[in-house]
Subunit: 116 residues, 3 copies
């Protein structure tokens, strides 16, 4: 059996878990939640880039993603940042739904799975 | 390592991504969002059938599914279409939660993972 | 190809699906939905333990989890039960979002993927 490798485990969750050629990421939220939707999304995606790099992968190997947006009226702003970032030749399967997040200031959370 | 194959990638997302014997589908929504919940669900499931067929799989090989319904009071109607469709000998692990979707007319979105 | 094994399939869903060294669990909800958030979460986690045990796994092999809470103001209570339960050396990647669940009494639903 493959080993399980955990990245930045704290007492509650790991930021990323690697198993059998796949990387399972925790839901990422923006570090600066005073920012608007586009900036929060860009920051979330930058954090995903950083995690994938640590796992020896990158955004061209994303398999699936779920985008949770706190207010669906801001989805277009989320998509602006997404479109500026996503590998256009290799985009993941994605779902986007509205959900309130950990605090009222958090506008977007993205959880994804990537191949290594 | 297995190759990653993407089905219908546009600039934003792929409708389905294949990797290592698994198919990761994008969240599917109904093409006619003027329809009611049961008809929208049946259409979503028909689209899932079509994607799975293109990937050399079918609904008997579904592993997991998340059903997002815009109004939990309509869950029974969603389930009517689901029960008429699902392979009763081989149903997936499923979660159903309420979430507002891309537009007020979209009543259901289903995202799933299947074995090939 | 690996075989697919389904645990407790009923006509609608399976409680857990095993494929290629991984266990895909259905969203688990508390059996007693009159209980408060902490007790409901503890019960959900006990059910996850029981399913994982049947699949020859345990919570130290969790890869990812999504926690749906009906009211984000109760997240701290959910986390109390989570922290008392999770394997602190091996926590999964996790996302927590707010979503109304199958009934107004259901306060938490957790869906996860584990390695076997």
């Amino acid at each position: 059996m493959s080993d399980i490798r955990r990245y930045d485990p704290d007492v509650k969750l790991s930021d990323m878990v690697e198993f059998d050629g796949r990387l399972y990421l925790a839901g990422q939220i923006a570090r600066d939640t005073a920012a608007g939707m586009k900036a929060q999304t860009a920051d979330v995606l930058a954090q995903i880039d950083a995690l994938l790099a640590r796992g020896g992968s990158d955004k061209s190997k994303l398999l699936s993603a779920v985008c949770y947006v706190a207010d669906m009226r801001l989805k277009a702003q989320m998509d602006e940042a997404w479109l500026a970032w996503v590998d256009k030749a290799s985009p993941p399967a994605r779902a986007t739904v509205e959900a309130r997040l950990g605090s009222a200031q958090e506008l977007v959370e993205i959880q994804c799975i990537a191949a290594k």
